[in-house]
């Protein structure tokens, strides 16, 4: 800044200068350390779970079991990325569950022959994958337009959308299950490279890419700004509506990819994929346990990933421990609540609010 010998502001600046310079040079290592601890808040819990699992069953810490867990949580993980993006802008989307089921269902219906309850169009499976993405984008666009442009409440819009999508999904195949999926279509969910499932690799790439995007890309930063304070973001000239709309579309497309993985893993699409297993509850649980704030503006992919892994480990441990079938959901739910409390204790005020 230029010299302003006349302005008393300069003398004030002199007094503050030491502090300002210290701040500029010092790069506050302690603050960085704290944020690292916050991000890795769930790490100790994951370690404890690994130890518990290893003690409970010798099959737990084997390559095949771990890669099995990886395959199981991949689909959930991709949907969690989508929901986290939407939570970060201060929204919420219940209908990711419906998209997760409907998108692969529509594509599969166009691909498989009539004998497997398909439409008989016999679409090329590679085009089918594009259809999956297109259905996701379309659902996200409708949600986004209703919420952002129509200024409707996101909870109610996506609740209604969930029901519509589930109805479409059931109606298209009239309750039947689509099978005989071509291998190009199931590759993402079913294939392995060595002992590593492809879905796990893709999910890991999606997590890392989204994490880097959120941290370093200007649109990623705009997502944090919009979620942290929408009015301030608007005042700073950010195209708030466009960012929100884009995130709803991206979130739905990720849910569609998750659905594609699940369809490949079980190599079939039922009329109830998604809401049968109530996947949206696991999605919210993983995101919130991982420190993504329901208020918007706070959270990151490291946290979201640890939330997903935690849920996967708990599920696997319960399976291996032969937890009684009738009680498994109660135990599952209780573990989620405990994990939330732990995440809050470790991550501090801002976590799990």
């Amino acid at each position: 800044m230029s010299d302003r010998p006349d302005a008393t502001g300069t003398t004030v600046a002199d007094r503050g200068r030491a502090a300002v310079e210290a701040a500029l040079q010092g790069r506050s290592r302690s603050a960085a350390a704290i944020s690292l601890i916050r991000e890795a808040a769930l790490l100790p819990v994951l370690v404890i779970l690994l130890i518990v699992g290893a003690f409970l069953n010798s099959a737990f810490l084997t390559v095949s079991n771990i890669s099995g867990i990886g395959q199981q949580i991949s689909a959930l993980g991709v949907v969690v990325v989508g929901e986290s993006l939407i939570l970060l802008i201060g929204g919420m989307d219940l209908s990711l569950e419906g998209t997760y089921g409907l998108a692969p269902m529509v594509a599969a219906w166009l691909i498989v022959p009539v004998s497997a309850f398909g439409s008989g169009t016999k679409l090329n499976p590679f085009l089918g994958i594009l259809i999956v993405l297109a259905v996701g984008a379309a659902v996200g666009l409708v949600n986004g337009l209703l919420i952002v442009r129509g200024r409707l409440n996101g909870f109610i819009v996506t609740l209604g959308m969930t029901i519509v999508l589930a109805g479409l999904q059931e109606g298209i195949v009239k309750g039947n299950t689509l099978f005989n999926l071509p291998s190009a279509f199931t590759y993402l969910g079913a294939a392995y490279i060595g002992k590593v499932p492809v879905s796990l690799i893709v999910t890991a790439i999606i997590f890392v890419a989204t994490g880097l995007f959120l941290r370093y890309h200007r649109v990623g930063r705009a997502i944090y700004a919009v979620g942290g304070n929408r009015e301030a973001a608007r005042a700073a000239g950010i195209k708030v509506d466009r960012v929100r709309l884009g995130v709803y579309v991206a979130g739905s497309m990720l849910a569609a990819v998750g659905g594609l993985m699940e369809a490949g893993r079980v190599s079939a699409v039922t009329g109830q994929q998604g809401y049968q297993e109530g996947i949206i509850f696991a999605v919210f649980a993983a995101a919130v346990i991982g420190g993504v704030s329901l208020q918007g503006g706070r959270g990151n992919m490291v946290g979201a990933a640890s939330g997903v892994i935690l849920l996967g480990l708990v599920q696997n441990i319960l399976d291996l421990a032969n937890a009684p079938n009738y009680w498994i959901e109660a135990i599952d739910g209780a573990v989620i609540l405990v994990a939330l409390v732990l995440a809050r204790l470790i991550g501090g005020e801002a976590t799990a609010e």
Binding site: M1, S2, R4, P5, D6, A7, T8, G9, T10, V12, A13, G16, R17, A19, V20, E21, A23, L24, G26, R27, S28, A31, A32, Y216, H217, R218, V219, R221, A222, Y224, A225, G228, N229, E231, A232, A233, R234, A235, A236, G237, I238, K239, G297, R298, A350
Partner: protein, 536 residues
Amino acid sequence: MTETATPAAPAAAPAAEAAGIYKQFGSTLALRGVDLTLWPGRCLGLVGRNGAGKSTLVSILSGIYPADSGAVRFDGQPAPAHGDTGVWRRRIATVFQHSMVVPELTVAENVFLGRQPLRAGRVDWRGMRAQAAQVMAEWGFAIDVRLPCADLTVEQRQIVEIARALAAGTRCLLLDEPTATLERGAIERLFARVRQLAASGVAVLYISHHLEEVFEICQDVAVLRDGELVLTSPVPQLTKDDLVTAMIGAGPGTEVGASTQYDTGTRTETGKSTGNGAGPARAAPCLVVDDVSAELPGGRVSSVSLDVRPGERVGLTGLLSAGVSSLARIAAGAEPYTAGQVLVDGQRLVPGRRDLALRLGVGYIPEDRQRDGFVAPLGVAENATMTITDWLASMLGFIRPRARAAAAAPFARGLSIISAGLGQPVAELSGGNQQKVTVARALARKPRLIVAITPTRGVDVASKALLLAELAAVTERTGAGLLLATDELDDLVICDRVIVLLRGERFTEFAEPPFDREALIAAGEGILRPAKGDTS
């Protein structure tokens, strides 16, 4: 304070009385030993500038806050305990500036809100309607009590609130800036009603920013200044000048900024060279507001025109409700307008498109920094550079944190932003430093025009001086225009000229510094008082 306002016929005890009221908020002493007496059948005007303590006094009289010390009495009896709202309501009723009726309920329900007459444990609807109608008839208010309040005009809602007070048996009424949202005709009718109420023995406390209203309907007037009651007098013994002087405190002829020392050093040169000089080299204005009208929640703007030239600093002031911040928000692209047009560097500003305004070169320092000024969980550097992410990003849109810090550092230095590092969340900074971050965000994009609304509000004295000096320096250095909308007159010291708005319209302009404090305040109240300063 000596009681000079003894009523002609002191019927009995005063209707309401505040004695030696002290009230402190944090480190601010809002009221320091205020005595105020309301007599039955008289209307007492309460005036004072923003922050003088009027609202605090109203809140204490209506039982919203307890006083730290001192006593409130009604009809000579001690006031009910704090929190005993029902009893307070029967003693004193307040009609606030913003309507407190429930729009979904009918007039009758609103009149008896919270104390519906019961019969056999159930609401006696018929009785309630009859009683409400009776109150309306008694006072000559013509409103159908079965209508939902949502269908009423602003004026009618106010009548409902008054009727609610009267139905509760209140003989003591506080009207807090009741005319702020009313049209001319409605104001006249309100005055007739207030006179009628006073004539029937109701004690009225009338709070207003418009001094002419006080002269029109009040018998007595009390002036608050810095939490003290500095004058109480029957109205006929005073002139408007006396009132203005009492509100301001200093003798006549004070200039803005005289008490605080800041000087941009180069004012005179700029004022002549780029600003108001009548030379042929007058640059084209960077902001043209042409006959703009808008109806906004923060105040109406009607047919206002003004322009700001490069390097020129134009002040915009007036009362809070006069449309000052509305007009500034419109110029910043933060609010839409319905008529007229706004040009920035000759290009039309699309109404309400802040993102486009930013790209046209409008830097914006919003009024409410908590709401609009920064994203609390994000860091200092990120907030300060939020307007220039497109400049910082690579071809693919990625931003290196180091480039961001480098871009923010000059502003952190120049504005002395004190933080534990440029990554520290702005939420953790002090108010003054938060405001500096907001200013940095506005300046980062090298604006052609800076729109600043109350940029020094709630900021400590040192930061205030620094912010004003920096705004002045930036306009000197870069030739940016500045539109400074404020109700803090000391801010106007950096301006080349000052435009005063009244009820959303352009009222007058002070063409040349120094600006006379009293004349500015009087103009804000709607009184033209050419002091020795040059006014037009």
